[in-house]
């Protein structure tokens, strides 16, 4: 709800079933945020911090935490919002309660996965009738395909990005994320034709005297080895 107030993530019907003020189903897509805010203030008094940076931090964390794959993910977000309204945002932002810690840990793990994905996904150019596109294979643990797609699209201004997870391809259609079956893609998935250059560069950077394979494996986890040509060198 807080995220929605701050125009962060969108919580839909099933996620709102445990909302703090909920006594029935809310149509979130047609929600008037001023009304929601007035309802909150009736229960919790003036919530001035909703306009400040603390609410923004909380909204951002709730966006990421709600993308963590766990059955209680929305329940936890709602609980945290309750704590923020009752004890103040610092109580939650300071991770004083166990729930707050779990909430931020989940947000952090999702952030780490996003950051790893943005770093380790390799894109290859492919030609399709509309021009050049960049495509890459992915495998996510959490629900982050749209976030990663947007991030990668931002740096590939001239060529649309396609992310392929198993049989599904994700791409941006206008401002929305769309998906289709891989067989319906208007191009063949490219192979890593440029990896020879990358491997040559990668090999040139290693300093023998500082070898620390376990540290490298810690940062480039096994799950990502198949994404990058150098993954086999960390075996």
């Amino acid at each position: 709800m807080l995220s929605r107030l701050r125009k962060g993530c969108c919580l839909h019907e099933d996620e709102l079933s445990e909302s703090i003020l909920n006594d029935g189903v809310i149509d979130v897509d047609n929600l008037n945020m001023d009304d929601v805010r007035r309802d909150y203030e009736k229960v919790f008094g003036t919530v001035g911090w909703l306009d400040g940076p603390k609410a923004r931090s909380l909204a951002k964390a709730s966006l990421y935490s709600s993308r963590y794959i766990a059955r209680d993910r929305y329940h936890l977000v709602i609980n945290i919002m309750k704590q923020a309204l009752v004890y103040g945002p610092d109580y939650v932002l300071g991770r004083v309660s166990r729930e707050a810690r779990t909430f931020f840990n989940r947000a952090r793990r999702v952030c780490i996965e996003i950051s790893r994905a943005c770093g380790f996904i390799r894109l290859e150019p492919a030609e399709c009738p509309a021009g050049c596109v960049m495509a890459g294979r992915v495998e996510f643990t959490n629900d982050i395909s749209d976030i990663v797609l947007r991030k990668l699209s931002r740096r590939s201004k001239n060529a649309p990005v396609y992310l392929v997870e198993k049989d599904t391809a994700y791409f941006l259609s206008g401002r929305k994320t769309a998906s289709c079956h891989v067989r319906d893609l208007p191009f063949d998935l490219p192979d890593g034709g440029f990896s020879e250059f990358w491997e040559a560069y990668y090999d040139s950077q290693f300093i023998e005297g500082r070898k620390n394979l376990s540290l490298a494996r810690k940062h480039l986890p096994q799950k990502c080895w198949s994404w990058v040509p150098e993954g086999k060198k960390l075996r």
Binding site: G88, R95, C118, Y201, F206, I207, K211, N212, A216, L220
Partner: protein
């Protein structure tokens, strides 16, 4: 020469340069290699360093004679250079495939500094104007580069750096007969500092020490580091543990332990982010940071009179002096206790404090952890390092926490 062969040679020649994204963060050796806050790591090398930037030389031809460097003029080996077009094109191929996040471009000095700087600047111009690349570019300013080249580099780059290599003129002389500390290095840093005032260079200016090649001590390095931050507005100082290279005059010298580099980074963090001053750091009789103890714990055992610190009362600055508490957890403690009294170690753990480290030095809501083991640990630290105690020391013993000496 084929582009691939050039890449192999000029990539390898740049590998000892440290940049934001490849330096170890506070996690340091054996722990986490933390990338720059805004950096994305695109790979990790078998040595655990992150690859975020395409780090390469424009050319490995060099007129200088730096005793540690694989590119020095007297050393045999294949020499080559990228043309600006080749290098810019290659970088863009890496960038669009998401292999790297930005460019770190350094170079040997072929013919003269102006000629090489011209090539470097041309490469950056091609990227900015032909490829419309708006991302991160770090350009190296070559020692002895003319003012007009420094000016152009500052205009085009996100960050520039001039490597200082050693803390004083005398130490630099042990590393090179041809480099001039005051004019070629400090002088160029000052130019950059002046040019930066106009608002260009969003990622500022940085520099790098080669640690352990010139027989310098950590205290000399840290002293120069502090002056660089204060007087030249340096954004970051990097430390690169010396590694001997075959075929150079220093090939027989033992490599510097990576742990020494790590201790320097830790101390640098204490100075930049924890409000420590140079006098808060403790060096051994040789002027080096002890390798077997973290500099912050070292500070704490030298200043036992400051502890135990009550978590609900200590100021932000005081909290930063406690081992196991960093800027983030200190800020969270100060914010949380506005509406809430911290009463347990579990709450501190939730906040992000490394409780195991902090517990001997703190009180929580008037209580301390009555753990003989931990207190004893303090005693052991003190004795094993023979640290001088303050005039009126606090003694620690089983069952008490900190008691004034009779």
């Amino acid at each position: 020469m084929e582009l691939l062969d050039k890449l192999k040679i000029l990539g390898a020649a740049a590998k000892y340069d440290v940049c934001a994204a490849t330096g170890c963060g506070p996690g340091g050796s054996g722990r986490a290699a933390v990338p720059a806050p805004s950096g994305v790591c695109h790979s990790f090398l078998p040595d655990g360093r992150c690859v975020s930037l395409f780090k390469v030389l424009q050319t490995n031809e060099c007129l200088k004679d730096c005793f540690y460097c694989p590119n020095r003029i007297q050393r045999d080996g294949p020499r080559t250079a990228f043309t600006p077009d080749e290098l810019a094109g290659l970088f863009m191929e890496f960038y669009r495939r998401n292999y790297v996040e930005g460019l770190f471009l350094s170079s040997g000095i072929s013919r003269n500094p102006s000629h090489t700087m011209e090539q470097i600047i041309k490469t950056a111009e091609i990227l900015r104007y032909k490829h419309s690349y708006t991302g991160y570019i770090h350009l190296k300013i070559l020692p002895g580069a003319g003012f007009e080249y420094v000016e152009q580099a500052v205009r085009l780059a996100s960050r520039v750096s001039v490597n200082i290599e050693a803390p004083t003129t005398e130490h630099l002389q042990k590393l090179s007969r041809l480099k001039n500390f005051r004019e070629e290095i400090i002088g160029r840093m000052k130019w950059v500092h002046g040019l930066q005032q106009g608002g260009s260079l969003p990622a500022g200016q940085t520099t790098q020490f080669i640690v352990g090649a010139a027989g310098e001590s950590d205290s000399q390095i840290m002293k120069t580091t502090v002056s660089l931050y204060r007087e030249i507005g340096m954004r970051r100082v990097y430390f690169s543990a010396f590694q001997p290279v075959a075929g150079t005059p220093l090939e027989e010298r033992a490599p510097t332990p990576v742990l020494r580099e790590h201790r320097l980074y830790q101390s640098d963090f204490l100075l930049r982010s924890y409000g420590f001053s140079l006098s808060d750091l403790s060096f051994d009789t040789g002027g080096n940071l002890p390798l077997d103890i973290d500099p912050k714990v070292n500070f704490a055992v030298h200043n036992l009179h400051l502890f135990p610190m009550e978590i609900n009362r200590a100021s932000y600055k005081e909290l930063l002096k406690v081992p196991g508490i960093g800027p983030t957890s200190a800020r969270r403690i100060v914010n949380a206790r506005r509406n809430f009294r911290i009463t347990s170690l579990d709450e501190l753990k939730n906040i992000g404090v490394v409780v195991k480290r902090a517990v001997p030095f703190i009180q929580v809501n008037g209580k301390y952890r009555d753990s003989y083991k931990l207190v004893q640990q303090l005693e052991l630290w003190r004795e094993s390092h023979d640290y001088p105690l303050p005039d009126n020391p606090l003694i620690l013993y089983e069952g008490s926490h900190a008691v004034q000496a009779p």
